[in-house]
Symmetry: C2
Subunit: 102 residues, 2 copies
DNA sequence: AGTATATATCAAAAAAAATTGATGCATAGA
DNA sequence: TCTATGCATCAATTTTTTTTGATATATACT
């Protein structure tokens, strides 16, 4: 396991990560993905009551932060939570928000 | 210990918390406070190479998020890391960035 | 081939956050 | 009481993020 060095690069890296967590819609999105597993964009639109463009914007932010995982199946694009990254960043207390069966 | 409910209020609350962590200057600030203990604003200005107005702005954000603690002594205002809140939010892996002697 | 659906992306507009310089208020010392 | 220092806060500006509506691309079905 690589140790985490307290340098500028590290601070920038994690600031980015936390930025992606800094919106209630995205936290809810993660929570829904967690509860439901793999979900396609069009279903997420309904679940989140959000138009597709906006949703894709937020999905991209989470994807870039490696907080969710994308899998394309035919016409559909499925997303799921990346539990590993969630665990890497968040306390176990908080992880319960993004952990199956809460 | 109060359980964390996955509702709108919770998402807003933690989104706020993560927003305050979403800037590399603030992460560095927390890291410095962690390494040095209680530090007054004027010393922090030099440590962070930041003007006082800007520094106070960022300190306020961390203070509002309960990530740091303020103590006034005479003319000076001292700040220190709130380890408890850091632990509440961040994984133990990450907490090492904000934990004495890293 | 033609059409419909799913989704990403783009450009413009709106909203929010950060920076800057100025000002004001305590406190402490002369 | 006068002055200097430490700090918070305000208003104006700049920068960044988010939202919106439109367009483009890929897949699948007819």
């Amino acid at each position: 396991m690589k140790p985490i060095l307290a340098n500028e690069k590290t601070f920038e890296h994690y600031a980015e990560a936390f930025k992606s967590l800094s919106d209630p819609k995205r936290l809810k999105l993660m929570n829904e993905l967690c509860a439901r597993g793999q979900v396609c964009v069009c279903d997420l639109c309904e679940i989140m009551e959000m138009n597709q463009s906006k949703l894709s914007y937020h999905l991209k932010i989470l994807l870039d932060a490696n907080l969710i995982i994308q899998e394309k199946k035919g016409k559909w694009n499925y997303y799921a939570l990346n539990q590993k990254q969630v665990n890497h960043l968040l306390s176990s207390e908080l992880c319960c928000l993004f952990r199956p069966s809460d």
